[in-house]
């Protein structure tokens, strides 16, 4: 009976046999002093043997809580769990704690986001894996060890016998996540839950881990639940997708259905808000306005309606909770709008159903002045809409035409705004013997050279540890460079004394990554934004207060919130405060250090759009530091790729993404997952072997040679010079070449 209804609900995708995992009406509520937090509120889904379900959502959507509820990790906790969870015929809600413990790690295993904090720092990797074995099986220590070593070998850890006896901190991030997967799979579970398994990793490592997970699944036949916010990862790995919003399922279907024909406005917005490597660059991203609701006061009716561009109160968007049902489309969706109307709207979103309704009572969710709560802003969505159905639908081959470079023939004339020449930042190291001696320094930044022209954006990309953040700080002298020069408007700032440097700071500002740590929690945002005026002793026209309110308005914050404290704002709004502070003195240059990487996709798009608008208005130049190539491609005029403290390649954005010449850029581009399942299936990846070498002891010659597929003898002997191979295209490689097909999956 139930199986029948279930099949009806999920269309034809469910196999004939009973599903491995079946979750019905799961609710996890946390009573707090402020009210009940409804983290998961009536979620139903199932996972068949051997399939991969991806649960997608922004932070606070309830996806991780759902996973932990399956493992029974809320037992003894504060959360109140109700509903039904059936695993292979066992009702997980009714069994006792000891039976639940026996299932955990044996039948269901979990891989967590951050493998550094998920491993116990005090115990060896091997003994932690053996502990997982011994918790379920009475076998000798010797055979447990053999089993663990075999498993480490299987997940691709080189020299597993030696690695068995090492501690987690002796592993690199990627190796740690491999070991985590080994630990989860060592008891051959039927179901593996991976909670953001690659979010903490670099793209090249992410590509390795995703391919490993796919291989292991084919080999072991494990069913997977992969929780992620990254639609590219979903397209790469999932069979079916479940989109969550505010503790409820917004939409669920096969990966093809979701990407080809998203039914929920939220899914549609998510797909539009992430910049994509494979599509023509858009002027603006289709940001979803506002921010996710509080789970205590979930908006009445459809919880997405305050942010929805297509809400129609005549259908009950603001009053009745919509059902999750397949009305006209291929798969179930929780939306009041009729399917055919949605399809029309998605194709031409510039004409919302009932514009008069939208801004009116949107105040009920984001009380803190939703910056883009204005439907007029959604006009920008048109950019996506034009090629939306085609592009998103996966037939993107035709749309990939090389866009002409924005600035023809790189400006040769005047001095650049910023000229960085051979910039170095070394950190001295000492031996730890009885008498300390100088050891080789850590070469965080090892001689980088580039120009930034007035009003342009230079994107600085690279994986963690490549020195991009250090470079960003050293070029503002927030860190003292140990070599090289930085000329700002023709003046070498590395030699300036304190007073003159302070005066110069007016013209160069910074936006930081962490929107929590970079704002003083004990100051009001008004005081924070006013700081630059006070430090520089500038009294703007109309007084500081007036200027601050104008700035707040400019970055999309409600000026009335002048006296609020940072903790009263969401992450995206806090990042706006950081931007307001940076633009207060109308600087010529802002270094943005990963300004959006801590934000959810929909919020990320808002901040990126804001940065672009500000640049258009004031002509400020950006150095935009990020690890995400798709984001950098979207915003940068030129892109420089860093590896191990050096710049490998620098070119105009379109040239770098379409016709890169450096093998490292090839690998980086090929590793970026693209939110299009067909495209992902077609793509060949350059998987980099090995880990990043230590910057204290970099390889001789070309620093990339140890991981380069093209490396030859000459690469070890000679450091490749930075050469201008095309106008404005600089490459530091002995054997540069094109490799277009690998990058985008085009035949």
């Amino acid at each position: 009976m139930t199986a029948l209804t279930r099949q009806q609900e999920q269309g034809a995708t469910t196999p004939e046999q009973a599903p491995l995992l079946d979750v019905r009406d799961l609710r996890v509520h946390f009573p707090t002093a402020d009210g009940v937090v409804r983290s998961v509120d009536g979620v139903s889904f199932s996972v068949a043997k051997g399939e991969t379900l991806s649960i997608v959502g922004e932070s606070g959507s309830g996806k991780s809580v759902t996973a932990q509820a399956i493992l029974g990790l809320h037992r003894r906790g504060r959360g109140v769990v109700s509903g039904q969870i059936m695993l292979d015929g066992t009702d997980l809600m009714t069994i006792d704690d000891e039976s639940m413990r026996r299932l955990r790690g044996d039948h269901v295993a979990m891989v967590f986001q951050d493998p550094l904090s998920a491993f116990h720092p005090y115990y060896r990797i091997g003994s932690q894996i053996v502990e997982a074995i011994h918790s379920h099986r009475q076998i000798s220590g010797e055979s447990a060890r053999t089993l663990a070593v075999e498993m480490l070998d299987m997940v691709g850890i080189p020299n597993p016998k030696a690695r068995f006896d090492q501690y987690p901190h002796e592993f690199s991030g990627g190796m740690r996540q491999r070991a985590m997967i080994a630990m989860a799979l060592v008891n051959e579970p039927k179901l593996l839950i991976a909670d953001e398994p690659t979010t903490a990793l670099d793209v090249t490592v992410q590509a390795q881990i995703l391919s490993l997970m796919r291989d292991l699944q084919t080999e072991l036949g494990t069913a997977n639940i992969v929780i992620t916010h990254d639609l590219g990862v979903v397209a790469n790995i999932a069979d079916r997708v479940m989109i969550m919003y505010a503790g409820k399922v917004a939409e669920t279907g096969s990966v093809g259905e979701i990407f080809a024909a998203p039914e929920h406005p939220y899914t549609w917005g998510l797909l539009g808000s992430a910049p994509r490597l494979d599509l023509p660059r858009l002027e603006r991203l289709a940001a979803i306005p506002g921010s996710p609701p509080s789970l205590i006061n979930v908006p009445p009716g459809c919880s997405f309606h305050p942010r929805c561009a297509f809400r129609d109160d005549r259908l009950g968007c603001g009053s009745t909770v919509p059902e999750l049902k397949a009305s006209t489309g291929t798969h179930p969706v929780r939306c009041h709008l009729p399917g055919d109307r949605r399809r029309v709207l998605f194709a031409d979103p510039a004409d919302p159903a009932d514009p008069a309704d939208a801004p009116g009572d949107s105040g009920d969710s984001g009380g803190l002045g939703d910056p883009d709560g204005d439907p007029a802003d959604l006009g920008g969505v048109g950019g996506l809409g034009d090629d939306g159905p085609g592009g998103v639908g996966g037939s993107s081959i035709a749309t990939l035409s090389i866009t002409a470079s924005a600035e023809p023939g790189a400006a040769v004339d005047a001095t650049p705004l910023l000229r960085v020449t051979n910039l170095q930042k070394y950190y001295p190291q000492y031996t730890r013997k009885l008498l300390r001696r100088a050891a080789p320094p850590v070469r965080a930044v090892d001689g980088i050279t580039f120009d930034v022209r007035a009003g342009e954006t230079l994107g600085l990309v690279g994986e963690s540890g490549c020195g991009k953040s250090t470079a960003g700080r050293a070029m503002l002298r927030l860190l003292e460079p140990t070599g090289g020069t930085v000329e700002f408007k023709g003046e070498d700032i590395t030699r300036l004394d304190g007073q003159r440097l302070r005066r110069l700071r007016r013209h160069m500002q910074m936006v930081f990554q962490d929107p929590f740590g970079s704002l003083n929690g004990r100051q009001t945002v008004g005081a924070i934004i006013a700081t630059p005026f006070k430090i520089q002793g500038i009294s703007p026209e109309g007084g500081i207060r007036h200027a601050v309110r104008e700035l707040m308005d400019r970055v999309g914050l409600n000026p009335e919130h002048y006296n609020r404290f940072p903790h009263e704002f969401s992450g995206g709004q806090r990042q706006r405060v950081g931007v307001a502070r940076a633009i207060a003195l109308k600087p010529d240059l802002i270094v943005c250090d990963e300004p959006v990487s801590a934000l959810d996709a929909s919020i990320q798009a808002q901040v990126i759009n804001l940065l672009k608008d500000l640049q258009e208005e004031s002509g400020v130049a950006y150095v935009f530091i990020a690890h995400d190539l798709s984001v950098v491609r979207h915003i940068a005029d030129r892109i420089a790729v860093m590896y191990l403290g050096r710049v490998m390649e620098e070119a105009p954005w379109d040239v770098l993404c379409e016709r890169p010449l450096h093998p490292y850029t090839h690998a980086l581009l090929s590793a970026v997952p693209i939110p299009d399942p067909e495209h992902e299936a077609r793509r060949e990846r350059i998987l980099l072997s090995r880990d990043l070498p230590s910057p204290q002891n970099p390889p001789s010659g070309c620093v990339f040679r140890t991981r380069c597929l093209e490396a030859r003898e000459r690469c070890a002997a000679e450091v490749p010079e930075r050469r201008e191979l095309r106008p404005g295209h600089f490459v530091a490689c002995h054997f540069p070449h094109e490799a277009t097909a690998v990058l985008t999956g085009r035949p």
């Binding site: 491993f119 005090y122 501690y167 730890r432």
Partner: protein
């Protein structure tokens, strides 16, 4: 690790030299003339001079410090006068190798005074330490596991009460009721452990308890806080997710991490106590270092003061070193750096 210990030992040596120099200087900054205090009421200037000579106080200060250091390593004579030694050896007092000085008030070498007092203090401190660590860590863990429930509130409330009761008050309370009114235990007194271990323990139970109450209260709160923190760590969740049994999760994954900061505190507290427990020793009438210190201060027995300060400083710095080594044992990340 070996280099680390060697470097730290050298640092401790330097610390002790500095401490001794500073206390020596204080010795001379004192307004009283120690020689004048040695000969009672009927003192003549000649007698005072003779005593000053006998104590070696007639020499310049750096020479005196040199004599002190020499005494520590080679022993010394009082008075250090070869002529007198040759003429009347029976008037010379010889102070054996680790010579911390000679107390003219007590007519005894300071080393002897210290070695008599030290076992009392060590017995007191060690017993109390074991007691408070057991109670504090155990109750702290229970409170953390029952966080927010009545058992937790009871323990935290009890700890607050214990923390607010001064040692002397608990000591007097115990004396009055346990020993005198109810006569369950004898009046506390010190019997050397080797003479009769049972009597040793019986005589120390009350001071241990009095001392342990305050410390246990502090450690309950400390352990509770660190346990709550460590139990909410990702790796504890991992351990549960892989099906590790709950007791093992709590002890192996939670407690071991929480112990790291607790060990630091415990080492320093114990080191501090080994320098003497002024109040406890006074209340129970134990002749430990604390009482020795109080008596020497009131009587301006300067050689004894210097010695007690040095012993206390040594105990504290060595405790510090032990803590640092333990850190490496507990946390492999420290070991490898």
């Amino acid at each position: 690790m070996v280099f680390f210990v060697i470097r730290r030992l050298l640092a401790i040596g330097v610390m002790l030299v500095v401490t001794s120099v500073v206390t020596f200087l204080l010795f001379f900054a004192a307004p009283t003339d120690p020689a004048a205090l040695t000969c009672g009421r009927e003192c003549t200037p000649d007698l005072i001079d003779a005593n000053r000579h006998a104590m070696g106080l007639d020499k310049p200060i750096h020479v005196q410090y040199g004599d002190f250091v020499k005494g520590l390593f080679a022993g010394r004579d009082f008075p250090d006068d070869p002529v007198q030694k040759a003429q009347a050896p029976e008037t010379i007092v010889h102070c054996e190798a680790p010579c911390l000085g000679y107390s003219f008030l007590r007519q005894a070498p300071v080393t002897e005074l210290v070695t008599q007092a030290l076992p009392v203090t060590v017995s007191l401190a060690a017993g109390a330490f074991v007691l408070w660590m057991l109670i504090g860590v155990l109750a702290g863990c229970v409170a953390a596991l029952y966080k927010g429930r009545w058992l937790d509130r009871l323990i935290v409330g009890g700890a607050l009460l214990g923390y607010s009761l001064p040692t002397f008050f608990i000591g007097l309370l115990l004396l009055t009721f346990v020993s005198i009114r109810w006569a369950i235990l004898p009046i506390p007194s010190y019997t050397p452990f080797l003479d009769n271990p049972l009597q040793w323990a019986a005589g120390l139970v009350m001071p241990w308890t009095a001392l342990a109450v305050v410390f246990a209260a502090a450690y309950v709160r400390l352990t509770r806080a660190y346990m709550i923190e460590s139990l909410s760590e990702d790796y504890v969740r991992t351990a549960r997710a892989k099906g590790v049994r709950e007791p093992r999760v709590i002890v192996k994954h939670g407690l071991r991490v929480a112990l790291t900061p607790i060990v630091t505190m415990a080492g320093l507290d114990l080191g501090g106590l080994l320098g003497g427990m002024v109040v406890t020793e006074q209340v129970f009438g134990f002749n430990g270092l604390g009482k020795l210190a109080v008596q020497s201060v009131t009587n301006v027995d300067l050689p004894t003061i210097v010695a007690v300060v040095l012993v206390a400083a040594a105990a504290y710095t060595i405790a510090n070193l032990v803590v640092d080594i333990l850190y490496g044992v507990i946390d492999p990340r420290v070991r490898l750096k």
